[in-house]
Symmetry: none
Subunit: 320 residues, 2 copies
DNA sequence: GGTCTGTCCGATCATTTGATCGATCGATGA
DNA sequence: TCATCGATCGATCAAATGATCGGACAGACC
């Protein structure tokens, strides 16, 4: 045992010289009188035994911890967690938008022609608005969700519109309401050549940025009158907690089949499993919805904030 | 400034991914959307700004033994001994600074308003520079030593300045030279309202971090022209071996009364006996000075290095 | 409006680090 | 005393890192 302690002592010394002193392993080797690989082993030992404690002294380090945990737990390609701003609740959505825009611009900046799909929602809208103007007429942007209200008016501020305006790219809108009036209407809509053409383009998209909706009294779907109060009640009855592109899902992320979901005109989520779907949502209230989306494995990337991330980590990843 | 903060944010992210997450710079680059050299620069920035804190969590048995011996022998509250580095004497002061900063941050991190006093010297300066930035505007930092040179210029990089900048706390500087030109000038200075006000704040400090100066040909006091060659000779004649805040003392730690010491404007050491004075100094050459300070009982804590510690243990504590 | 300067960015190369594998030394048992 | 097993050590190579350089962009000044 004494031998091991001696080694640990030397390991600690090597760690000091390396991490605090910034010496190279060669220098440490000559100082401690061992070979360079020997120093290597000492350092490995020091790390393994937990002698080396690294602390990043910045508020973001919290976010990084959670981001890492979420990425690993749900097999994402990335997860951006923006810091919560205690004194300015309204700016939280702005942070989200900036972070989202940064991800988005990674795709847009490319010169090769690109097809990108977009969902709807405040987050998506804010994200594209936060994007800076670049000339990319070769790109194509396509809606994954109908952008018409029930009264036939079309949302002028659809994400696709703004994005196409900013880049000069082509736009493909889905001229349909999010939720059709009846199953028959839905089938009628979906059989239209125009809509099928848009759907075809959407299938070719290599990535999609979509919002994540909660399903409760404050649901966007309900507040924006895409679904009626009775329909909301039915969804709640069936334990829906969130929705992606209008498709409701339960806590486990399983799609819910019901009278409402049968009338949703958006592209089926199954069809999009091949492409990189990126969720944008923040706020503790959205936590359950985001967690459901992650559990269902629908997303490849997530941009969220500290509040939601904390909910997800605490609720979704505590068990082993 | 906003731009700089954003950069720092990203630097923190990069540092986290690199040091905590163990990713390679390539992975970080693709994750943050910058080039690899970009990551490199971010990491350099993070280190430079002190975002990265490394702590080696192992008591080196050698250091530990001496630390214990010194703590007991001189009735200290603590004694930190950092490992020595054979080559590269310059980095030794960095080790000291890291250890000192760790002690210092124990005080600073507190939320209740705090008054701390600081001496001058390279060690103190390095220590505050190694401290990470924290927002603590409620704290007050006060000089124990005049921070003006004889030509009237004031050291912009006084420890108090840097510390106040880093925390946003209040600063109280002593607008006086360390050693006045004459006894009359000293009294004139000390009777100034302004200086008395600063002294009053200093008396309220609950802890002070001060350097320990040697008195010989390489004395800081002499090299920085705070005292003349003739004055140095006089001090050596009187067997001065060290000084605290400019107050010279002999081997036994007794203050020396002489033409020089009568002109020192710093706060009297007696007045500070109530507060926790913590000495920062390392290197075998500083051994005698440190030992004298300990023997005089002026210090409650010590941060030193292996060299000085060995000198102290061998010279000062050999008899039982 | 043009040019100039300073700053920032990314390609390239030298250095450092991490990992593998064969060799050597020591311990143990016949 | 010798053989064998095991552990540790150091040579070598691939990967990762740090540093330098040339070029491009933005802002300022003329």
């Amino acid at each position: 045992m004494d031998k091991f302690d001696l080694k640990l002592d030397q390991a600690a010394r090597a760690a000091w010289l390396s991490y605090v002193g910034g010496r190279t392993q060669d220098e440490i080797a000559s100082q401690l009188g061992v070979s360079r690989p020997g120093v290597q082993r000492l350092l490995a030992l020091a790390r393994q035994e937990g002698l080396v404690k690294v602390h990043i002294d910045h508020p973001l380090s919290n976010c990084m911890v959670m981001s890492d945990a979420i990425t690993k737990a749900f097999g994402l390609e990335f997860c951006d967690v923006v810091p919560a701003d205690a004194q300015a609740a309204d700016s939280a959505s702005h942070y989200l938008a900036v972070a989202g825009a940064e991800r988005l611009s990674r795709y847009i900046d490319r010169n090769d022609p690109l097809t990108m799909s977009l969902g709807t929602g405040r987050s998506v809208r804010a994200t594209v608005e936060a994007l800076s103007r670049v000339e990319r007429p070769q790109h194509r942007f396509v809606s994954l969700v109908g952008n018409m209200a029930r009264d036939g008016s079309s949302n002028r501020f659809d994400g696709v519109m703004v994005l196409a305006d900013k880049t000069g790219g082509d736009r493909f809108l889905l001229p349909a309401p999010v939720v059709a009036g009846s199953v028959d209407e839905k089938h009628a809509l979906l059989s239209q050549r125009l809509i099928q053409a848009v759907a075809d383009v959407a299938k070719q998209a290599e990535a999609g940025f979509i919002g994540i909706g909660r399903v409760d009294r404050h649901a966007t779907l309900f507040q924006d009158h895409f679904i009626s109060e009775a329909e909301l009640e039915e969804l709640l009855e069936l334990e829906a907690v969130g929705e992606l592109l209008g498709w409701p899902m339960n806590q486990a992320g399983e799609l819910i089949d019901c009278s409402t979901s049968r009338r949703v005109t958006s592209l089926p989520l199954d069809m999009l499993k091949g492409q990189t779907l990126i969720g944008l949502a923040g706020g503790r209230d959205k936590g359950p919805a985001i967690l459901a989306s992650l559990r269902g494995g629908w997303l490849k990337g997530l941009v969220t904030d500290e509040h939601a991330a904390r909910y997800i980590v605490e609720t979704g990843i505590d068990g082993p």
